[in-house]
Each structure stands twice: as structure tokens, then as C-alpha cells.
């Protein structure tokens, strides 16, 4: 029974990470109807940028606590530079196309970005342990537990609440919601959908990069870390319902807790457990937990 607490904590920490990597994906899909496979490479870009920026910061002898700001900066830069570059430079010419064709396009972008990352940062692993070790440990049930994970949980909460507030309580957010509901109608009402798309994609990119940047201190950053992320993020987003932020949160929590329990009691089935949850949810609710209602077709 004493293992319940660490399992729960692990579960919530993992859920926080899952939410951070899924929020951007579901947001972009909800507004733009694009399942952004390049989400994985934006995540990786965030991780690599974090290594470079925080590495330079720490290498310059600056106070270690500031490295956290560097992580945030990495996410912001990716969001403000790469996001708009992709959206304005490529995606905006493709909006009329079929959803699956759009997936193929983002898939092609993913392939390209994977190699660009390799060309810029090389193929060796990068490590950034300082931010992870800095806050130290605390103990749960006698076992040491990194404070960094608490930071991750806090970050996920803040991000989720900030997004929810921005969507439901600000005018800009309401415009986004309008476009999510009906793009054509929004255009007819004079909403500048082009700008909404640009903003959404950039925010989504920043969120992906945020996930990557804050994961960098906890893992070895290598080419290909973005791959597993796409599949996991998709699983979480599908469980929650494509386009639903609350769904992503709930899906992340569900998957996080189930995975944590699996790792503790049945380690071989770890990877299996995530997709088993997805399969079970889809059998019960084919479009996910909070799927949008579909209007009558005929």
C-alpha cells in the first residue's frame, strides 16, 4: 500500500508531461483541422534549443537558476520563429486540401525537420542535467523524488489554466472558439481567419517546444526523440476527443495513471498499456471522451 503514493505521483507527473505535449496538437487540430505530425519535431526542436540556450547560459557562468528562463525562451523562440515560418511559408497555401493530404504534408515537414536538426546539432546525445538536479529531491514514502517533477506538474497546471482562461474568457479566445465551430461562418462574420490560424499554429508550436524544452533536462536529447511523442500525443488527444483541451487533460491523466501503475506492477506491458487504454476508450466512445457533436448531414 505504501507504493500507492509514489505511483500516484509518478502518474500525475507523467500526465503533466503528456498534457504539455498534447495541448498544442489538439489546439491546432481544433482550430485548423490539421493533425500536425511535425508536432514531434517541434518538440525535438524545443529540446535542442533548450540545450543550446541553457548550455550557453550556464557555460557563460551565469546563475544556474536562470537556466529555467532559458528553457522558456527556447519555447518562445520556436513558437515565434519556426511556427510562423511554417504556417506562412508552407501551410497557408494548403488549407483547401483534404485532411489526410494535410497530414501527409505535415509528415513531410516532420521528415525534413528531423534531418535539419541532425545537420545543426549533430547525431550525438546532448545532456542538460543542471536544471533537473538544481531543485534537489524530496521524499515520498521514504523514496527520493525530484522536485523537478513537481515543477513539471506546476507548469502543466499553469499552462492548462492559462489556455482555458485565454480561450473562454478573452475576446481573442472567443474568436478562436468561433473558428473551431464554423470556419466559413466566422469568415462571413468578418473574423480574420488567416490571423487566427497564424496565432493558433504559433501557440501550438510554442507548446510543443515547451514540452521539449522542459523534458531536455530529464533525458538524453538525441535525434528521434520527437517520434514517440507524436504517437503518444495522438493517443492522448484521441482519447480526449480531437480539438478538446479538457479532453486532452483528462486523457493525459488517465493514461498517466494507468501507465504509472503498469510500470510498477507489470513493467513489460508499459507501452502496451497506453494503447490499450486508447483502444478501450475508442471502443466505448468512437470519437473520444469529449468529441464534438456532429450536425445532421441529410
Amino acid at each position: 500500500m505504501s507504493s500507492i503514493l509514489p505511483v500516484a505521483f509518478d502518474g500525475i507527473a507523467y500526465a503533466s508531461w503528456l498534457f504539455l505535449i498534447s495541448a498544442g496538437l489538439t489546439l491546432i487540430y481544433g482550430v485548423m483541422r490539421i493533425l500536425n505530425v511535425a508536432h514531434g519535431s517541434l518538440y525535438a526542436l524545443g529540446a535542442y534549443a533548450a540545450c543550446s540556450l541553457a548550455g550557453a547560459w550556464l557555460g557563460g557562468g551565469l546563475p544556474a537558476a536562470g537556466s529555467f528562463a532559458m528553457l522558456l525562451l527556447a519555447a518562445v523562440l520556436v513558437g515565434c520563429i519556426v511556427g510562423p515560418a511554417l504556417e506562412r511559408g508552407l501551410l497557408q497555401w494548403m488549407y483547401g486540401k483534404d485532411e489526410v493530404v494535410l497530414v501527409l504534408i505535415t509528415y513531410a515537414v516532420f521528415l525534413i525537420m528531423e534531418d535539419v536538426i541532425k545537420l545543426v546539432w549533430g547525431v550525438d546525445s546532448l545532456l542538460l542535467p543542471e536544471p533537473y538536479a538544481l531543485p534537489g529531491n524530496f521524499s515520498i514514502g521514504g523514496l527520493p523524488y525530484p522536485v523537478y517533477n513537481l515543477l513539471l506538474i506546476a507548469l502543466a497546471l499553469v499552462t492548462g489554466l492559462a489556455l482555458a482562461w485565454a480561450l473562454y474568457r478573452t475576446r481573442a479566445g472567443k474568436l478562436l472558439l468561433a473558428v473551431i465551430h464554423d470556419r466559413e461562418m466566422s469568415m462571413a462574420l468578418g473574423i480574420n481567419v488567416d490571423r487566427v490560424y497564424l496565432a493558433t499554429f504559433s501557440i501550438g508550436a510554442a507548446l510543443a517546444a515547451l514540452g521539449g524544452a522542459f523534458t531536455a533536462p530529464a533525458v538524453a536529447v538525441t535525434p528521434g526523440i520527437g517520434v514517440e511523442v507524436i504517437v503518444l500525443a495522438f493517443a492522448v488527444v484521441v482519447i480526449g476527443g480531437l480539438g478538446s483541451l479538457g479532453g486532452a487533460a483528462l486523457g493525459a491523466l488517465l493514461v498517466g495513471l494507468v501507465r504509472s501503475a503498469t510500470v510498477r506492477y507489470w513493467p513489460e506491458a508499459e507501452l502496451f498499456s497506453i494503447y490499450a487504454v486508447m483502444a478501450l476508450v475508442l471502443i466505448a466512445r468512437p470519437k473520444g471522451l469529449f468529441a464534438a457533436q456532429e450536425a445532421r448531414k441529410i
Partner: protein
């Protein structure tokens, strides 16, 4: 009739190549054939309006089934391996298809990807199956006839060419007739298909099964060519390659997958020699270029009813 003549000519050409060409070319031809037949399965799915990002699942199942036959059950017959690969893939698809046939569009695409990654995870964690290293397979006979050393791949290529040609002609017949029209109907307007009295679910299920069996055959063939299986066969990049070849070749003819796969294999061989770090980027750029300027390959996708925004 033209297709049948073309297939016979292709088999003859490949057999000639098998008997006379150097080993490396025989090897490359086997891989092109193997990947081509997987992409043929993608073509069948695309006729129904679906893209699978996870054919690597069945490609891997086909490869491992063939390898396990010799490794665990000591049946070192190439013909048996080809059959085992096809059958194993079909069996798994019979089960998974029950779930997947209810999905469309990106759900279908990403779910198929997810399942292939599940198998990847299972294989990587399985010490009994060699984990990331995989294990070797060795076929010593074909239909009971002993193979002389050095001749194996030549025989496999001929056997592969014959079986793939037979299968391709069967697929052509399937798509050219009523079933192909029904599949196109499901792609264009599945609502109308049900109101006319047919079941889109059933159509997708059958096509999914066919595509899986084809991928299993391809996997077994590839395993025979390489002499080795590892989890890379089920990794998303492998599935991605199949999608790329499908786009490259277009969906107009059953010969297209094989032509595209040959071009692809040739390019890949060159790229891995001279520019391994930009291979994925080149694929990505080529894919974008094809989508933007030569959408004939995506013709069937483009014809689908546009979803409201």
C-alpha cells in the same frame, strides 16, 4: 489483357535478371519487389479513400513469421515462409480490422500508426525475439527442393516474381470489377452506399485484410532477401517509406507501386552511400513537391468529398 501481358513480361524479365545479374542487383530487385507488393496493398486501401501509416505492422509480422518458421520450428523452406508471412499478417488483420474498419480519415491513419508502434515496442522489449538486434533466418529449400549455396536469392527472386505477379493480377481483377467500383463508392460517398443497401464497414474490412496480407507477403520476401529480421521493419519510418512510394507511383495502375519501389530502392542505395544524413529530408521535400505539383498520385484522395471546415 494488357495488364496480364505486362505481368508476364515482368516475370520473364525478372527471371532473366535473377539468373544472370550480380548478387547485389538481385538483392535490390528482391527488395523492390517486396516493397512494391506492400505498396500495392496501400493502393487497394487508397481506392477506398484510406491511407494507412502503419503497414509496417504487417510487414514486420510477415518478416518475423517467416524467420520464426526456421528459427523456432526448423522449417527452412522459402515457400513455406512466404505463405506463413502472408497468413500471419492476414490473421492479425482479421482481428484488428474489426476495430479499424469503423474509422476513416486521420483516425484510421493514426490508429494504424499506433498499432505498428505497439508491435515495435513489444519486439524491442522481447529478449526471446532478439530485441533491437533481431535474428537471422536461413532458407535451405524451396517447395522441398534443396537450394545450392549462392543460388538462394536467385531462386527467391523468381519465386517472388511469380507469386507477386499472380497476386497483383488478382488485385487488378478485384479493383477493375464490381468490387473496385464499390470501394470507390465508399470513398466518394459512404452515406449513399449504405442507403443503397451495402455495408461500407464490410468493404473497408475486406480491403484492410487484403492490404495486410500483401504487406505480410512483402515482409516475408524482404526477410528472405536480407537474411535477417529486426524491429525496424515495424518502425514508423518503414511505414512512411511505403506511403512515400505510394505517392510517388500514384494510384492509376497496379504496375505503379513496383516501378516506384524500384526507383526508390535505387535512390536509397545511392543516398545511403553518399548522403545518409539528408535522406529523410530529401524524402520530405520530394513528397511536398509531388503533392504540390504532381497530385496525380493523390488523385484518388483529391476526389473525396471535401469535409466542411
Amino acid at each position: 489483357m494488357r495488364i496480364a501481358a505486362a505481368a508476364v513480361a515482368a516475370v520473364a524479365a525478372l527471371s532473366g535478371l535473377a539468373l544472370t545479374a550480380p548478387q547485389w542487383l538481385v538483392f535490390m530487385a528482391m527488395l523492390a519487389l517486396a516493397k512494391g507488393v506492400v505498396v500495392l496493398g496501400l493502393l487497394v486501401l487508397m481506392r477506398t479513400g484510406l491511407v494507412s501509416f502503419g503497414q509496417g505492422l504487417y510487414f514486420g509480422i510477415g518478416a518475423y513469421a517467416a524467420a520464426l518458421l526456421s528459427h523456432h520450428w526448423h522449417i527452412a523452406d522459402a515457400a513455406a515462409m512466404l505463405a506463413a508471412g502472408t497468413l500471419a499478417a492476414a490473421l492479425v488483420a482479421a482481428l484488428l480490422g474489426l476495430l479499424l474498419a469503423g474509422y476513416r480519415d486521420i483516425f484510421f491513419a493514426m490508429l494504424s500508426l499506433a498499432f505498428s508502434m505497439i508491435l515495435y515496442g513489444v519486439l524491442v522489449k522481447s529478449a526471446a525475439l532478439g530485441s533491437t538486434d533481431g535474428f537471422n533466418l536461413h532458407a535451405r529449400t524451396f517447395l522441398g527442393l534443396a537450394l545450392t549455396s549462392g543460388m538462394e536469392r536467385r531462386v527467391f527472386l523468381i519465386a517472388g516474381a511469380v507469386s507477386v505477379a499472380a497476386v497483383a493480377l488478382a488485385v487488378h481483377k478485384l479493383l477493375a470489377g464490381d468490387w473496385g467500383r464499390l470501394a470507390a463508392g465508399v470513398r466518394d460517398n459512404e452515406l449513399r452506399v449504405s442507403y443503397l443497401g451495402a455495408s461500407p464497414y464490410r468493404v473497408v474490412y475486406v480491403n484492410y485484410l487484403v492490404a495486410a496480407a500483401l504487406a505480410g507477403l512483402g515482409g516475408a520476401l524482404a526477410a528472405l532477401a536480407v537474411g535477417h529480421v529486426d524491429p525496424e521493419t515495424t518502425y514508423w519510418t518503414t511505414s512512411g517509406e511505403f506511403v512515400f512510394i505510394a505517392i510517388l507511383g500514384g494510384t492509376q495502375s497496379i504496375l505503379a507501386p513496383f516501378l516506384a519501389a524500384s526507383i526508390f530502392e535505387a535512390l536509397r542505395t545511392v543516398a545511403s552511400q553518399y548522403a545518409p544524413n539528408v535522406w529523410q529530408m530529401s524524402l520530405g521535400v520530394a513528397m511536398l513537391a509531388i503533392i504540390m505539383f504532381l497530385p496525380a498520385g493523390l488523385w484518388t484522395l483529391a476526389e473525396r468529398r471535401r469535409r466542411p471546415a
